[in-house]
């Protein structure tokens, strides 16, 4: 049975590695370019406090709109071109447009509808 557990662990690990790679590629593609402006989802490193994120957004020339259910991801708005560049200069990892973020749980017959959930999270209009 030990060899069975080993096979399971190796298979799970291999899938995770491939998954992480695909996730990294996709989220990199989703990031807004530096010259972008408007309402964005600004993602900071998790170690940043809410106060620090708030201040960073202001220094970047924008205004904080609201926090999300992820403590280190805030909705922010900046009118000037280059707002995203400013956010990155103030420590943001990346900024994104409206993204369908949310957990999911697909049971055998479930139709997962997350719109109410995502609106409450401030991630959808």
């Amino acid at each position: 049975m030990r060899s069975g557990h080993g096979l399971a662990a190796m298979l799970g690990g291999a899938v995770l590695v491939v998954w992480l790679g695909l996730m990294a590629m996709s989220w990199r593609a989703a990031a807004l370019p530096p010259e972008a402006s408007g309402t964005v989802l600004a993602v900071f490193p998790p170690r940043h406090t809410e106060a620090a994120i708030f201040a960073a957004i202001v220094r970047a020339g924008g205004r904080p709109v609201r926090a999300t259910w992820l403590d280190f991801a805030w909705i922010a708005h900046g009118d000037e071109p280059g707002f995203v560049a400013g956010l990155r200069a103030e420590g943001a990892v990346a900024a994104f447009d409206d993204v369908p973020l949310g957990p999911s749980l697909g049971g055998c017959a479930a139709v997962v509808t997350l719109d109410r959930f995502m609106r409450q999270a401030g991630l959808m209009k």
Partner: protein, 412 residues
């Protein structure tokens, strides 16, 4: 994993070792079960792009689930007759075609055809049900329960993988390209199915009882233990579907933060992987019917505690973790019992019928949840119904005979 001496690869191919069979089967289960779990994220962008109301997408997915359930026994029959690989290949192609064609579905009718009909039928052919039946045939009996557990856990893992990947693809490439990428991944089922090719020549084996599919079905439906198993799996479908669809809304009604709902759903998914695998391992050592009875009883207890104790973040997360362990852990045990009762000869057919019962329960869980909420203003009635059904399932699993049916019993 050493090559067991008691079984040769069905097609005679030396590369078709148990490890290869398990890895490829698990990847098929992961992809097949996982891709569909991301469809909910396409609802909003697709509906917005096409100018549809949400009911269009929801209807298509409801048709998908219905056809998956209805098609499963038939897919199982074909797999038992012609081999799992062929069914997986055809199912994979239909599934991939349906996903790809969703990108050009410009009308509600077209979406129902692609996302509903094509994918629903494709799922019946390419789902973990066919994979588990193949495992039951191709893996030695002493490894069977473990194999069923790892196959189920792989499907559970696929939900986690593709739910996040679907979101990331949509964010990075837009919903249309995301669907095409998903379709490409589903097509991987075709080459992977090769590892499950071949089937034992039952017709030429003098030790195998000769039986048509019709006879097998008649025998099963006349066997009390099988009917009890079918009834119990209905309850499983009811529980998982109701909680899946309605838990976030229930938590929102309680005034708990969105972050709590997010963590809860994530925990169910992660603990599900652990629970499924553990059930497979333990099912090889202990009584499957007693384990199933305990799982359903514990579900009833967990739900009772959840709705009676004052809600808080802690209770929600504990509920999620407990339900996660008890989530799809029923699958390897239930499928294992089908194999014990009737042998692997018509496993795909008979477990396909059991799965259909699960889908009927799922449909009722989703629909009744919304219907009774609208009628009563709360989910309380449905939660109590879930508790009652859990206790019912716990009871009916107890008298299940965990032995081969008389014709399969070894002569004494």
């Amino acid at each position: 994993m050493s090559q067991p001496s008691s079984i040769a690869s069905p097609s005679g191919m030396s590369w078709q070792t148990p490890a290869v069979i398990i890895v490829c089967g698990c990847l098929i289960a992961l992809i097949g079960f996982g891709v569909r779990s991301s469809f909910g994220f396409f609802l909003e962008p697709m509906s917005a792009a096409r100018g549809w109301g949400r009911e269009v997408f929801a209807f298509a997915l409801a048709i998908q689930n219905l056809l998956w359930g209805l098609g499963q026994p038939f897919a199982g029959m074909v797999a038992d007759r012609y081999g799992a690989a062929r069914v997986l290949i055809v199912g994979g192609i239909l599934y991939a075609a349906g996903v790809a064609l969703m990108t050009v579905s410009g009308s509600p009718g077209m979406l129902t055809l692609t996302a509903g009909v094509l994918i629903g039928i494709g799922l019946a052919g390419a789902s973990f049900t066919v994979v588990l039946a193949a495992f039951a045939r191709m893996v030695p009996p002493e490894r069977r329960s473990w194999a069923l557990g790892i196959g189920t856990a792989a499907g559970s893992f696929g939900q986690f993988v593709f739910a996040h990947l679907g979101q990331a693809f949509i964010a990075g490439y837009g919903w249309s390209m995301a669907l095409l990428l998903m379709a490409g991944m589903v097509l991987l089922i075709v080459p992977l199915a090769g590892a499950l090719s071949g089937r034992p020549d039952y017709d030429s084996d003098p030790t195998v009882h000769k039986q048509s599919i019709g006879n097998a079905l008649g025998e099963a439906f006349g066997y009390r233990s099988y009917l009890l198993l079918v009834s119990g799996f209905f309850v499983c479908g009811f529980h998982v579907a109701f909680i899946t669809v309605h838990l976030p809304a229930y938590l929102a009604d309680l005034g708990l933060g969105i972050q709590v709902a997010a963590w809860a759903i994530g925990l169910v998914g992660l603990f599900n992987i652990v629970g499924s695998y553990a059930a497979g391992v333990l099912g090889g050592r202990y009584s499957k019917r007693y384990m199933l009875s305990a799982i359903y009883f514990l579900r009833a207890v967990v739900i009772l505690l959840f709705i009676t104790i004052p809600p808080s973040t802690v209770t929600v997360l504990l509920f999620a973790a407990a339900m996660g362990v008890l989530w799809l852990s029923t699958v390897p045990l239930t499928s294992g019992l089908v194999a014990v009762m009737f042998g692997p000869r018509y496993m795909a057919t008979l477990f396909g019928v059991v799965f259909f019962s699960h889908q009927v329960g799922s449909f009722l869980g989703v629909w009744l949840g919304g219907y009774l909420y609208d009628r009563t203003g709360s989910y309380d009635v449905v939660w109590w119904l879930g508790i009652a059904l859990g206790l019912f399932a716990a009871l009916i699993h107890l008298p299940i005979s965990e032995r081969p049916i008389a014709r399969l019993a070894p002569a004494t």
